[in-house]
């Protein structure tokens, strides 16, 4: 195709500039052809206009045919952080900072106390005289070998119940002879409580970290059952009985066995009777999700085909999100028996707290409500 200005011929171009622009837009040219096209476009306004038209058309078709997806939580903060726009600090960061700050303040108070400053302040102000929590008790604090602090409980007097079992036996009585020891005991107790909480936090983090480590040949999946809302599963007694008769592992095994039998069974070799089917005919689903790999499967049983013009939508809830997040739409024509669908949540490091399956009109936006929820999991026990 000759260029209008420089009369250079660009052999890779079609006679119709719109065709050339289309192949370029759809990435159907190899790198050499694309380079020739780009060079030609600089010289040829007709080609440039064709390209612009193709860009408009493809953008409009893409916007009109792709389902919008809600970005994962934290993506905007990642974007802002990458551009140095000062994203808001995350809550765990503040918890960590405030924890260390509190520990530092308490440590300073302890040092001040040990140097006698607080004792002097306590004597001058008569602290503790009006504090009911410090009456009738006695305690001592001593420094042990290696700098460890030992708190000796008093032999008499009322004590407040210790809310942390890990601290049982470490809390002294509340009142010193003149209230002087109250501050130091309280300081010591809070300090120890912070240490215990920090230890627990580290244990939880270590435990959770294992969920997000990819180990070849092994997974720590999150598995839960989904039942129709308001079914007997929410009755504690029935729930416990069902759980005893058909625990999650049995349900899962039955579902997988049913899948295998439907895909490979024969009339001569019928599948074994399913405990799930024997127990109930109501629809159930079992989402199995590997948070380390962001791979999940939804095994459904006894799910009736969606009504005409309606589809099943899967939603996930997490502890961090206040509302369910759309995962996807089950393909039409789902079997009424057992079936399995793959899904992803779009990101690792996400721990689902629950799943919802809703049935909504195909052509209407949907939000999970009590009215359209078909299955939900895990079953909730009434308080």
């Amino acid at each position: 195709m000759p260029c209008e200005k420089c009369a250079t011929t660009y052999p890779a171009m079609n006679s119709d500039p719109f065709d050339s622009a289309a192949w370029r837009t759809f990435n159907m040219l190899d790198s050499d052809e694309a380079a020739v096209f780009d060079e030609a476009m600089r010289h040829d306004p007709v080609l440039r206009n064709a390209c612009l038209e193709m860009d408009r058309l493809s953008a409009a078709i893409a916007a009109a045919t792709a389902a919008p997806l809600t970005p994962q939580t934290g993506q905007l903060e990642r974007l802002q952080s990458r551009l140095g726009l000062g994203p808001p600090k995350s809550a765990p960061f503040w918890v960590a900072v405030s924890g260390w700050a509190a520990a530092a303040v308490l440590a300073v108070l302890l040092v001040l106390h040990l140097t006698g400053i607080i004792d002097q302040w306590g004597a001058s102000s008569g602290a503790g005289a009006g504090n009911p929590l410090t009456q009738g008790s006695d305690a001592t604090v001593s420094r042990g070998l290696g700098g460890s602090i030992h708190i000796t409980p008093a032999s008499s007097g009322k004590t407040r119940p210790n809310r942390n079992p890990a601290l049982a036996g470490t809390r002294p009585t509340d009142k010193g002879p003149d209230g002087k020891t109250t501050a130091k005991v309280e300081t010591k107790r809070l300090n120890q409580e912070i240490e215990v909480l920090r230890d627990n936090l580290e244990k939880f983090q270590t435990r959770d970290q294992a969920l997000f480590e990819v180990v070849p040949g092994m997974a720590l999946p999150i598995v839960m059952t989904m039942n129709p809302p308001g079914t007997a599963a929410e009755d504690p007694a029935v729930f416990a009985r069902n759980d005893e008769r058909s625990p999650l592992t049995t349900l899962l095994g039955d579902a997988l066995a049913t899948l295998t039998s439907t895909s490979g069974g024969s009339a001569d070799n019928p599948p074994p009777p399913s405990a799930t089917a024997a127990l109930s005919d109501h629809p159930t689903a079992i989402p199995i999700y590997d948070a380390a790999r962001d791979q999940g499967a939804l095994v459904v049983s006894n799910l009736p085909p969606a009504d005409d013009g309606e589809v099943y939508n899967l939603w996930v809830t997490t502890h961090n999100s206040g509302h369910p997040i759309y995962v996807g739409t089950l393909p039409e024509g789902s079997a009424s028996g057992a079936d399995s669908f793959d899904f992803t949540l779009g990101s690792t490091m996400v721990l689902p707290s629950g799943f919802l399956l809703t049935m909504d009109p195909e052509d209407a936006p949907a939000t999970p409500t009590a009215a359209n929820t078909i299955l939900q999991g895990p079953p909730t026990l009434p308080r």
């Binding site: 990435n27 893409a62 009109a64 919008p68 802002q80 779009g346």
Partner: protein
């Protein structure tokens, strides 16, 4: 009064639109930003206003993520692609010229470029293509309509034009828009040669353009 042959309307009804001569009138207005809202946001981004980026991300983020997921077939990679797109939009905001292309079209081109780079990188590293997420498939157009992304009239124009296509033409055009027929992958479709794909695309595009132009009239 001009006499109309008896078979005129019958012939008109069965006329194949591919026989119509190509119309070289641009479907003007498609993807335009009539309220100038997007342009203002991009100008604010050029002035390093982070709030404008946040607003634009809330507006375009979901649709971009949906498009990128279909282009890449992997939602996790699509999230990264969308992130990279907005980084580029932020850095190129000062160079944006609204006279060259509408804001959404400009941003979509950036998104497509990011996705093409990732597809090429995937090809270079010989990674096996990720499986498409079967549970995330098409959505009804009504779910896609968002007046803050594109004018509702544009959504309807495109929907009407796409509905006018034969199923194989529509599939072919959608596959091309979502980069399923890249130079390397087109050869991997044994059921259709590249020539067949291009012919089908040519017909589909011509029909869509004709329909859009007629819609404007």
């Amino acid at each position: 009064m001009i006499a109309v042959p008896d078979d005129f309307y019958a012939n008109a009804l069965v006329m194949d639109e591919t026989e119509l001569s190509p119309i070289h009138i641009l479907p003007s207005g498609l993807g335009e930003d009539p309220s100038n809202e997007h342009v203002k946001l991009i100008r604010r981004m050029a002035n390093n206003e982070g709030a404008a980026l946040t607003e634009l991300y809330g507006m375009w983020g979901p649709v971009f993520l949906g498009v990128a997921t279909r282009m890449l077939g992997d939602r996790r990679e699509a999230e990264d692609g969308v992130l990279e797109t907005f980084v580029r939009l932020w850095r190129r905001a000062a160079d944006y010229d609204p006279h060259q292309s509408p804001p959404f079209v400009w941003a979509f081109a950036v998104l497509r470029g990011c996705c093409i780079e990732r597809l090429r990188s995937r090809q270079r590293s010989r990674k096996s293509p990720p499986r498409n997420v079967p549970i995330l498939s098409h959505a009804p157009v009504e779910k896609c309509e968002n007046a803050r992304v594109m004018r509702l009239d544009d959504f309807r124009r495109v929907k009407a034009a796409m509905d006018h296509l034969a199923p194989n033409e529509r599939n072919c055009l959608e596959s091309a828009v979502f980069l399923s027929y890249t130079q390397t992958e087109a050869a991997e479709h044994p059921e259709t040669s590249l020539g067949t794909v291009k012919n089908r695309l040519r017909h589909a595009l011509r029909k869509v353009r004709n329909h859009l132009s007629r819609y404007e009239l």
